[in-house]
């Protein structure tokens, strides 16, 4: 095993990091930067959601709400109570982690459609609370969020945000790749395939489900709170059912159970609607058609293109050898 293998630096992560380095030179204005940062934050949530959905096989229609609630907690602690932003995010993570672990026991007993309904229900409740508790949350109008000050240095310029979020995203990819390639990851995949098989070799299925659910909510919370600080504003929109569905579509479209699928799905679904605004009233229609086309021609997600490229290269290599 060479050194790069030992520390699990893969071809994929090198290519992806290279792309992240090149992108800022291509981005032309403030809006582009905002879009790129939003795509990366969505990608982070999707990496966690994919671990839950794609690897452990447990669907969640509530992750938008979890990210949103986490974001609100971070925003409120800093804006209302003058917490240091890092401390706010840490508090949000601890609160949401405990919250997720507690609710996971009863809801992850459910399967398939019932699990989908339960997570959807919790998401809707969270959204209602954020709307109704306007004295704390600003209600439907949302609330302004203080800026992010890190060790006396205010994160203000988009380029700074871009660097911070990109580093965090690469780090997240790396630790999730480590997890997927470990016994822990194998256990998650076994639960997706056959809970009976996992159970019969001594795996405490409900415990692992709870842990993976909690991990995914924690990642969503980090991304959600960063979003609030970055945009300087947070509204119940972020915790809406719509956002939850978007996240699921990103994961499925990118490629269920594929680490980079989540990233590709999040990027395309964040950027595509902006590219389509030129079509004005037909925007949503075309957007829908593109998604349908992708699912028909790439049922295993967009990331399967990458497999095709590798296959093609291998075949060429085999021929020339």
């Amino acid at each position: 095993m060479n050194f790069l293998e030992r520390i699990n630096i893969t071809k994929e992560i090198l290519i992806f990091t290279a792309i992240l380095i090149v992108v800022p030179f291509v981005l032309q204005n403030e809006f582009h930067f905002q879009l790129a940062i939003l795509a990366m934050l969505n990608a982070m949530i999707c990496i966690g959601l994919n671990l839950l959905m794609g690897y452990a096989g447990q669907v969640s229609l509530g992750h938008g709400a979890f990210a949103g609630l986490g974001g609100y907690i971070g925003a409120i602690l800093t804006t209302e109570y003058q917490f240091n932003p890092l401390l706010s995010i840490l508090s949000a993570v601890i609160f949401m982690g405990i919250f997720a672990f507690i609710i996971s026991k009863p809801i992850l007993k459910l399967k398939g459609h019932y699990l989908a309904m339960a997570t959807l229900g919790i998401g809707v409740i969270i959204n209602i609370i954020l709307n109704v508790e306007y004295e704390i949350t600003g209600g439907t109008d949302g609330m302004a969020v203080d800026s992010f000050i890190l060790f006396g240095f205010e994160l203000f310029e988009s380029m700074h945000w871009y660097i911070v979020v990109a580093l965090l995203l690469v780090f997240t990819l790396w630790i999730f790749d480590n997890l997927i390639k470990s016994p822990f990851g194998r256990i998650l995949r076994s639960i997706r395939d056959s809970e009976k098989a996992a159970d019969c070799v001594g795996i405490n299925v409900s415990f692992y489900k709870s842990v993976v659910f909690t991990i995914s909510v924690v990642v969503a919370t980090i991304a959600g709170s960063l979003y609030g600080f970055f945009s300087g504003f947070i509204s119940p929109q972020e915790a809406s059912f719509n956002h939850s569905i978007e996240l699921v579509v990103m994961v499925v479209l990118g490629g269920l159970g594929r680490l980079y699928g989540a990233v590709i799905g999040a990027t395309i679904l964040t950027v595509l609607p902006q590219l389509l605004t030129a079509f004005e009233e037909y925007e949503t229609l075309i957007f829908g058609l593109i998604i349908i086309a992708i699912m028909i021609f790439m049922p295993k997600g967009i990331v399967s293109l990458w497999d095709k490229i590798l296959e093609f290269k291998e075949r060429k290599f085999a021929k020339s050898a």
Binding site: I7, L179, F184, D193, C200, N204
Partner: protein, 254 residues
């Protein structure tokens, strides 16, 4: 080693296992046979914590293990295979076996996230052991194939190997050779005999009478959830009630 005392399981009005008692000796091959629907699989599910007993007690080496959940029984040395396959389709053959070893491997989250040496060492060590187990039954050539692409006969044997990986003292095999050809059946028989030499106790549910008669130390015959007879293969082969039960159900069993 295993004492089963008056265990009963009802499904609505149907008494699937009815006040059944028997003992299994350590290091023996104890077969449980009976016509279809006799309650054999139900009994396995009761002994491995899948079903809660309506009444009765199960002792392992003197300790009460009644109604302990399946995954915890594995840590007490009990493992089983399924009559209808339970293999993880999208895992490779070797990964399925490694699952059996997972109870010995570190799953510490911090070590996992940062890929500690311990995680890699475990993986390396159990990789070797997994390959060794697979070679016991001629499956090493399939080690890196995804389970979903493989034949029933291979997966059936894979389940036994996976159960062995958990390091059981008692293993319950529910129809391990159903659907296997003669050669494969022979291999499974050999493997079971090998296990017993290692002091593993085997409870074997099987319709293949030749195999049962060949390798069993003791046979318990079930019919309608009750114990019909018990004894050595010789005794069972000559038992009138058993012959009666089987003739009466001719055409139903495999």
């Amino acid at each position: 080693m295993l004492k089963v005392r008056s265990v009963t399981k009802k499904f609505g009005g149907l008494v699937a296992v009815d006040n059944l008692s028997f003992d299994v000796k350590k290091g023996s091959i104890h077969s449980i046979i009976g016509p279809n629907g006799a309650g054999k699989t139900t009994l396995v599910n009761m002994l491995t914590g899948v079903y809660k007993l309506d009444s009765g007690t199960v002792f392992l080496d003197g300790g009460d293990i009644t109604n302990i959940p399946t995954n915890r029984l594995v840590h007490r040395g009990i493992c089983r295979t399924f009559q209808n396959l339970q293999v993880c389709d999208n895992l490779t053959v070797l990964e399925n076996v490694l699952l059996g070893f997972d109870k010995y491997m570190s799953k510490n989250l911090l070590k996992t996230f940062f890929r500690s040496q311990k995680i890699l060492d475990d993986e390396e060590r159990y990789f070797q052991r997994g390959m060794h187990l697979l070679s016991l039954i001629g499956l090493e050539e399939y080690a890196h194939k995804e389970a979903k692409n493989l034949s029933y006969g291979i997966l059936k044997r894979l389940e036994i190997i996976r159960a062995l990986a958990t390091g059981p003292e008692l293993i319950l095999l529910d129809e391990p050779v159903a659907g296997l050809n003669t050669k494969e059946t022979q291999e499974v028989s050999e493997l079971i005999k090998l296990l017993v030499q290692d002091d593993v106790t085997v409870i074997l549910i099987e319709h293949d009478m030749k195999m049962v008669m060949d390798i069993s130390d003791t046979i318990t015959v079930m019919n309608f959830g009750q114990k019909l007879a018990e004894g050595t293969p010789q005794e069972i082969a000559n038992n009138k009630d058993v012959i009666q039960a089987y003739l009466g159900n001719e055409g139903h069993h495999g």
